[in-house]
């Protein structure tokens, strides 16, 4: 294993770089080169992790990822930190709102979006033997935990963290905390929602999603990602391909957040992604039918 960073990871990578200085390389501000290097390292049998802020890890070197680890099917781990709008005041350049979409479309690319750091840890361990590349979209926060998740992870599976008959809420990433919060607010109003976490985006948890959705009339997807190509799109594919009768409500980022900046929670609220807003959207959707 080797760890490459494109000059980011202050106060994050030191435990590794201190312990294994000979297997740690700061390649400088050069994400394309970092992925090219990783391809050459992996061809020789090594397992390189390449690290940067999510948009710089995924979008800048995208063609290098496609023609390198994906085309050669090599075990390069692309780690993007701070997916969604976690870099709040830093603005659009630092947001990753399409990374899951562009990674998900690539054959051979495993895509993992942990909801908290315990699940991230389990996901890295559980995918250690995956022979091809993996994109990890990590949250920055190592304090928040998704209640009931307990660090569970399995490729191709969802994790159900709350049961309920009226609707199914499916969340990707740390926003699962707000999705669960919404379900609790709804419960107080007598609306009983199941909540599931999707962290294995590719391979998609098709069977689990179909089982969850099949006997419910409403499924709500929650993600800090654009509408096209992310979790909502994936669930739409399952609903359509399986001919499921549920209606789909996609709670996501609908426009480029290029107007104002603010904290992560402020930005997520702008797009209706806080627990109370999500609960309100579910009530409205259920009442509309």
């Amino acid at each position: 294993m080797v760890l490459l960073t494109a000059d980011l990871g202050f106060m994050a990578l030191e435990p590794f770089s201190d312990a294994f200085p000979e297997r740690f390389f700061n390649v400088g501000v050069a994400e394309q080169n970092m992925v090219g290097l990783a391809t050459g390292l992996a061809e020789a049998g090594m397992v390189p992790f390449v690290y940067s802020i999510a948009p710089f890890a995924s979008l800048r070197p995208y063609e290098f990822i496609r023609n390198g680890p994906i085309l050669h099917n090599l075990p390069v781990r692309v780690v993007g930190v701070g997916g969604g709008m976690e870099y709040g005041p830093n603005g659009v350049s630092h947001y990753a709102l399409e990374d899951v979409a562009v990674m998900r479309v690539q054959p051979n690319m495993t895509v993992v979006v942990p909801a908290d750091h315990l699940q991230a840890r389990q996901a890295v361990l559980a995918t250690a033997e995956v022979p091809g590349p993996i994109y990890f979209r990590l949250g920055k926060d190592d304090a928040t935990l998704v209640p009931g998740l307990d660090g569970a992870f399995e490729l191709g599976r969802i994790q159900r963290i709350r049961e309920g008959r009226d609707a199914a809420i499916v969340a990707m990433g740390p926003i699962a905390v707000d999705a669960l919060g919404a379900a609790e607010l709804l419960a107080a109003q007598g609306v009983d929602c199941a909540v599931a976490v999707v962290s294995s985006v590719n391979p998609p948890p098709t069977e689990d999603l179909a089982a969850l959705i099949s006997d419910r009339r409403l499924v709500v997807t929650v993600e800090v990602h654009y509408a096209n190509g992310g979790l909502g799109s994936m669930v739409a594919e399952v609903v359509a391909e399986r001919g499921l009768g549920a209606r789909l409500l996609r709670q996501c980022v609908r426009t480029m957040p290029d107007d104002v900046v603010g904290s992560q929670s402020y930005m997520q609220r702008l797009f209706g992604l806080s627990a109370d807003q999500l609960a309100g959207a579910v009530v409205q959707e259920l009442a509309a039918r």
């Binding site: 080797v2 050069a30 391809t39 050459g40 020789a44």
Partner: protein, 260 residues
């Protein structure tokens, strides 16, 4: 290892590009002598051996020259070579790593040197003496990623990395001097911290001698001055032969000039 003659590589290039009716002939002819030299005695080890030298055909559009060299080195049969660019073939216009003797798939310019630097770093980490050779085109040096990799390799003093730049002074739509001027190319590589050598890219003895004498504990680059379309007078330095296939008359003329 059996020596390979550049003229032999050229004959295969002409024959296969005529049969397949595809272009990129001029680019392939310009690197024929470089590839003949590499596969005729420079590259150590055989395909599949973990400690073999690695080769990255970063200018993937000249893959036909690579296939010809692999064939003459005994890694590709005539039957396989004859599938070049046909339906169901493993021999595309750009090379694929699924083919014996091809370590890295290429075709998108500017990616090979980074992969090569990674391969060289891997050799160092694995305490192997194997070397990594990367063949770039001069216009490929338009890509910023080439220089990202150049900086990395120099910083880490990857003396097991050898880049060869095929300076044929042409690119797809014009002469490099008119599109994006590259001179002074030697100075640019030197300024990036590389051990720079200028060679005649058609002088196999000079290429081999230069590589054999490499000793600096720095990444090495051979600035190989070549003629686009080398060996076929009507193709030499003619932009249109970047893309054009040959008609029957041109093929006969070209073969006559290359000789047996």
């Amino acid at each position: 290892m059996t020596p390979i003659q550049g003229q032999g590589v050229r004959r295969h290039i002409l024959h296969q590009s005529k049969r397949a009716n595809v272009g990129h002939i001029g680019s392939a002819l310009s690197v024929a002598d470089i590839l003949a030299t590499l596969y005729g005695g420079v590259l150590a080890g055989k395909p599949g051996e973990p400690d073999r030298d690695r080769f990255v055909m970063s200018k993937g559009h000249a893959a036909l020259a690579l296939y010809a060299a692999l064939h003459m080195a005994g890694y590709l049969t005539q039957k396989e070579l004859d599938t070049y660019s046909t339906d169901g073939s493993h021999l595309g216009v750009h090379p694929h790593h699924g083919l014996t003797g091809v370590d890295f798939s290429t075709g998108s310019l500017g990616q090979g040197l980074a992969m090569g630097a990674g391969a060289a770093l891997a050799a160092r980490l694995q305490k192997s003496r194997r070397r990594v050779f990367v063949l770039l085109s001069d216009a490929e040096c338009n890509e910023g990623s080439v220089w990202e990799a150049a900086m990395f390799a120099a910083h880490h003093k990857l003396g097991n990395l050898v880049a060869i730049v095929d300076v044929n002074r042409q690119q797809a739509l014009g002469y490099t001097a008119d599109v994006i001027a590259l001179d002074p190319l030697e100075d640019r590589w030197r300024a990036f911290g590389w051990d720079v050598h200028t060679v005649d890219g058609h002088d196999q003895r000079a290429i081999a001698t230069t590589i054999a004498a490499l000793s600096a504990k720095l990444p090495h680059v051979l600035i190989a001055h070549t003629t686009f379309g080398k060996g076929v007078s009507f193709m030499e330095s003619q932009i249109r032969w970047h893309y054009l296939p040959m008609n029957d008359e041109q093929y006969a003329l070209a073969l006559g000039e290359i000789g047996d």
